[in-house]
Amino acid sequence: MTSQLFAYKRETGQWGLRNHVLILPLHSALASSARAIADASDGAVAISHDWSGEVDNDLPRILFTLTGYAANPNNYAVVFLSIGTPNEKQIIAGAQSLGLTRFTTLSLPEIGSMEKLQEKAISVANEYMKGAAAEKRIAAPWSAIVLGLECGGSDALSGITANPALGVASDRLVELGATSVLGETTEILGAEHLLAARAIDPEVGKKIVAMVARYEASINYEGIDIRGAQPSRGNIEGGLSTLEEKSLGAAKKAGNAPFTGVLEFGEKPLVPGLYFMDTPGHDIEQLAGFGAGHINIVVFTSGRGTPTGSAIMPTIKVSTNTPMFESIPDLIDLDAGTIADGVETLAQVGDRIFDEILEVANGKQTKAELGGHHEFSLSRMYNTVV
């Protein structure tokens, strides 16, 4: 196979691995419309969320997430559905300053009704779709890849098969000059000292430890010991015993490369390398943070299997065990259970994941993309009950 990457060059110098037209509702009341618009269009994608413009302690986090997500380099263009509030305008202006050049803001009050808004948005989206189809991929450097590392529904094989195999692929990419981002602070608890020891300098190491401590404190503040809630019941049924065991396995997704830096939730990495991003373990909130942080492709390992994906980032699913891969074939792209079966070595599966990343980056559709899985979820730090 070819080992050349082809991608869409953006004016910011970033690269898109997809050329999506994203319908982005800036108010939850417009989320149903966004979905209807995407369904009726010639291939636009939409997200839905439950933010209704509330001004509370989570506002900065929500604005940051939606702004970064709109400007993700996998978006060719964005159609904003807006009520016209100052906070919505701030999201649009922020996305512009992050490099979003092609966008249209459709204002509900200017258009007059949700029905007319939908009609207008479909025609705007279809025009963008024509433009997106006309744009060609060009040869791109390895630095074009910004990979997100995710696991969900872990089992006892996660830390032995799929996660270390993904680590092999991640190490190869980082070595070639790409960027790789480990998330899920919940699942680093207990393993942070090992990650910190791999930091490029002591400062970065301290930041990793501090980020994990901050996370645990934010949970303890609620009067809850996370170690009683993690691993989840599904994880325990899958054979995991403690949070520390889960974390030691989860951290293997990041291979053995040195950590270049840490990222806040939804923050974009500025230079290539391996990073740690502070995200919840909630798979979909993590994906939202990755999208906001301009990650353009994700590998998602799973022991139990999940159908979920992202509207804008191709998400490659890797199973930790062969029985799961065989029982739910339309959810999983690659099987790493072959390592436990003695059929393949860790290095071989790592190479297979690497090859798949390249193929998917070059346009091959993942199972989640083929299934139309566009789950999205805003991450909140505070309660929603007043």
């Binding site: 108010h27 939850s28 009341a29 417009l30 989320a31 149903s32 419309s33 209807a36 839905s48 969320h49 439950d50 209704s52 413009g53 509330e54 009520i83 016209g84 509030t85 509900l108 009050p109 200017e110 007059g112 009704s113 949700m114 029905e115 529904g153 949970i219 609620e222 809850i224 809630a229 019941r233 599904g234 994880n235 049924e237 899958g238 919840p280 373990g281 909630h282 798979d283 979909i284 909130e285 139990r304 299997g305 999940t306 159908p307 979920t308 029982s327 739910i328 074939p329 339309d330 959810l331 299934g371 566009h374 789950e375 979820s377 805003l378 909140r380 505070y382 929603t384 009950v385 007043v386």
Partner: protein, 272 residues
């Protein structure tokens, strides 16, 4: 007395004014599969971001919220769609629902052959539920009406008296900035219909299980999108009783026509 309203007997859920089949995703990961099933069988569903990575009081809180939706009087039957490894376990949720209503089934993605297998199994189960629990109609005159008070409404007490005068029960929920939390509360209180007075800076919204009558203020935003509303506040005392009778008997509200309605489950702890 209010005019007689055509309604549905929904067993222990009570008497409803819609005959909804709820396709209930127990976790965000099953919302897409749920939507495919609902689209194929004409059921209602909703996207949400809950069911997993929740801790503390939210585990019981979200579970109870889903139970309240499934037990809503406008619901005829419930199909729970689970992923399998989530915190809110679909089969346990379904078992709790079955304690009060037989018209409940569940399917689990991880045990049904994946997405396509679950869509096929779910469509089959939904059709079985519809066949086993056909609509049972009856007449009623008394409804439970939720009022979402998102702004100051000068006629609120007259409205309340008017509705109570014809035999309706009235529950008023004051919403903070948007109507979403208020709708969730009113759903848990088993309101049949919501009369929503959104804040002047908020658009209209809906809720999957209950028709929402959106009442426009004379503010700039509301008058600019007047077509999304069902009635003006200035006309409410004259026209609301006839509108309620019409909506209760099956006429769709604008929000229902637009399929408008994202739910927001009440949360007390950050997600992990």
């Amino acid at each position: 007395m209010s005019a007689s309203i055509k309604a549905f007997a929904h067993g222990n859920r009570g008497v409803g004014i819609r005959n909804h089949q709820l396709i209930l995703p127990s976790v965000i990961c099953s919302t897409h599969v749920s939507r495919r099933i609902a689209t194929e069988v004409g059921g209602v569903t909703f996207a949400h971001q809950h069911g997993c990575a929740i801790i503390g009081d939210d585990v019981a809180g979200i579970d109870n919220f889903f139970i309240a939706l499934a037990d809503h009087p406008n619901v005829n039957s419930v199909l729970v769609i689970a992923l399998g490894c989530e915190t809110i376990q679909g089969q346990e949720l379904a078992a709790k629902l079955l304690e009060s209503n037989e018209s409940t089934q569940y399917r689990i993605i991880q045990e049904s052959g994946g997405v396509e297998g679950t869509v096929a199994a779910g469509v089959k189960a939904a059709k079985e539920l519809n066949a086993a629990f056909p609509p049972a109609t009856l007449e009623t005159t008394s409804l439970r009406i939720g009022i979402d008070k998102g702004r100051e409404v000068s006629v609120i007490s007259e409205l309340q008296k008017l509705l109570q005068g014809v035999g309706h029960e009235v529950i008023i929920s004051e919403s903070q900035s948007s109507s979403a939390d208020s709708f969730s509360r009113l759903a848990q209180e088993k309101a049949h219909i919501i009369i929503s007075f959104p804040d002047e800076n908020q658009p209209t919204s809906g809720f999957p299980l209950m028709p929402v009558i959106n009442v426009a203020s004379d503010g700039v935003l509301h008058q600019a999108i007047r077509a999304d509303f069902d009635i003006d506040e200035s006309a409410i005392l004259n026209d609301i009783l006839a509108l309620i009778d019409s909506v209760a008997s099956g006429t769709q509200t604008v929000a229902e026509k637009n399929n408008s309605g994202e739910i927001r489950a009440p949360r007390v702890v950050r997600s992990v």
